[in-house]
């Protein structure tokens, strides 16, 4: 029943009323939804505005894969490296104090379900999985609005010659710049306090082979995820820097709140340059050639920013639904995108089997998401953004400096007894946090980050 998948077929087939569901956007959330629905026998049309899936997409770089593994055969997925080391680094202007983990278990399959990925290749592969299950993919096609009939969403308007495409269900997987959802009043535009701007470079090292393995102490397919906080990462802005190793490139970037970008003189590009020039970062990224420069916005409003996920005839998934977790330690989004696409796809398949289209028929999607790690995690860290905002000077400037000073003092080699160094080190930290009382308050406030 479904037409050919190419967008540039001579006939430009008419897709109107040919499908059970339309998915707007063939990113990870959209393809997960399409794959789930196709698996359950629905005729699915995926509409992607880029020339191929992933063409308009970028992320930092680590994909967490438990749900994708459930949805499809992950064996041949185009991953870059598995994450063998995670490193958390506090940077002052000149110092680095870091905490690093390399558990032996991460070297073993399934590698803690954590892989660096480049989206151009990966998103194309994931969309292909949906196509192999019977979904139809239409690229270079922009959804310009939603079609309403009898008060409910009944399809999409596109920039194709024949324009309107009707279908009983629409999945909005358009990403953080969700013009279609906002244009149809399905969600409000997020405030700039709750959206981050991210800029990233993909670097290659032309001087010789093995540079990445040598610099990051890697063999075979092992890779690293390095996160950086503090003044040396993004100045006094709320955010951080990152380095991820790909197969033969390195992704380096910064992300911080648009509110801060708008009130600082330093542009995102200059912030990236400053981060790359930090004494602890520059040796890792030097003598490189930039093979790609990219930018994106990241919805970081957390649980409170999730819009109504279902409407009559439509569901919102992924970044468009604000499903991103950033609590300083965990930076996750693509796994939540896939999980939401999966639950939305299931809900629509069930509603279709029962011949129902109203929002209440799709209610199992938000219900399943509430029960899943997605909303559970977002709820768990809901308090955090406000707390961090309140303590930002302490967390991003004073504390990194105190730890650097304390470390320098604690390990100082001279002819003074170590006890006095330890005392000085302790004082450096206690001064920064406001004595033992301050330390206790701080520990109490942030205990939920790790527990």
């Amino acid at each position: 029943m479904s037409p050919e998948l190419e967008s540039d077929t001579v006939a430009d087939p008419n897709y109107d009323d040919e499908f059970d569901a339309i998915v707007v956007g063939a990113g990870l959330a959209g393809s997960a939804a399409a794959l789930t629905m196709a698996n359950r026998g629905l005729e699915v049309l995926m509409i992607e505005r880029g020339s191929s899936p992933g063409a308009k997409n970028v992320f930092g770089g680590v994909l967490y894969t438990p749900t994708i593994r459930e949805l499809t055969d992950f064996e041949n997925a185009p991953v870059e490296r598995y994450v063998a080391e995670r490193r958390f680094s506090m940077l002052t202007e000149n110092d680095e104090t870091a905490f690093s983990l390399r558990p032996g278990e991460w070297h073993e399959e399934p590698h803690n379900d954590s892989y660096t990925v480049l989206r151009g290749e990966f998103d194309e592969w994931f969309a292909e999985q949906a196509v192999e299950e019977g979904a139809t993919l239409l690229t270079s096609t922009t959804v310009t609005g939603l079609l309403r009939e009898d008060g409910r969403i009944a399809g999409v308007e596109t920039d194709r010659p024949d324009g309107t495409i009707r279908a009983p269900y629409v999945v909005l997987a358009e990403g953080g710049n969700s013009l279609v959802s906002e244009g149809a009043n399905l969600k409000a535009t997020e405030t700039r306090e709750n959206v981050a701007v991210g800029v990233k470079e993909v670097l290659e090292f032309p001087e010789r082979d093995g540079v990445i393995e040598d610099r990051f102490r890697l063999t075979d397919d092992a890779g690293v995820s390095y996160h950086y906080f503090g003044e040396g990462a993004v100045g006094d802005a709320f955010g951080g820097g990152f380095i991820y190793t790909n197969d033969d490139t390195v992704s380096v970037g910064v992300a911080y709140r648009i509110e801060d970008a708008a009130t600082h003189d330093q542009s995102p590009e200059e912030t990236l340059n400053a981060f790359k020039s930090h004494p602890a970062v520059a040796p890792l990224v030097r003598n490189a050639r930039t093979v790609e420069y990219s930018a994106k916005t990241i919805p970081e409003g957390g649980a409170d920013s999730i819009p109504d996920l279902v409407h009559d005839g439509a569901a919102i998934v992924g970044d468009a639904a604000g499903l991103v977790l950033n609590n300083g330690v965990h930076l996750e989004g693509t796994n939540m995108a896939v999980e939401s696409g999966y639950h939305a796809g299931n809900a629509i398949a069930r509603a279709a089997e029962n011949g129902r289209v109203g929002a209440e028929a799709l209610q199992v999607y938000p219900e399943a998401l509430e029960e899943s790690f997605v909303v559970q995690n977002l709820e768990h860290y809901k308090w955090m953004m406000d707390a961090v905002e309140e303590d930002r000077d302490l967390l991003f400037e004073d504390l990194p400096r105190a730890f650097a000073d304390a470390g320098t003092e604690y390990f100082r080699i001279d002819r003074t007894p170590k006890e006095s160094h330890a005392k000085n080190a302790k004082r450096a930290v206690l001064d920064a946090v406001g004595g033992w009382t301050g330390a206790a308050k701080l520990a109490l406030r942030y205990r939920k980050v790790v527990t």
Binding site: G120, G198, S267, E269, K276, S277, T290, V291, E292, T297
Partner: protein, 103 residues
């Protein structure tokens, strides 16, 4: 406190070279605009200019920003940054605009 560290010099690409790494297909018309030019003329902060990672938004002589839309990486930061909600942002159509190879 700390001494000047041994930091290797980095040769960062210029913005122009960085943008050259991204494939671009000109849609012909700008997908960006401002709603009311008077609002821009009265705006003193030019947040669109400050947040743009691709030098699309530039301060104009009359206080209304010049928009070099062909630089755009389609990140949408300008749309969120403008406190007057004065940015017109539409998706470039028929696959036009920028294309990432890596992403």
């Amino acid at each position: 406190m700390s001494v000047q560290p041994q930091t290797p010099d980095l040769d960062n690409d210029s913005m122009e070279d960085r943008l050259y790494t991204v494939k671009y297909d000109d849609p012909g018309d700008s997908h960006l605009d401002v709603k009311v030019t008077d609002v821009c003329a009265e705006c003193e902060t030019n947040d669109c200019v400050r947040v743009c990672p691709a030098n699309v938004w530039r301060e104009g002589d009359d206080g209304v920003p010049h928009i070099a839309y062909e630089n755009c990486l389609e990140c949408s930061s300008c749309r969120f940054a403008c406190t007057y909600d004065n940015v017109v942002w539409t998706y470039p159509e028929r696959g036009a605009g920028m294309t990432y190879k890596h992403g």
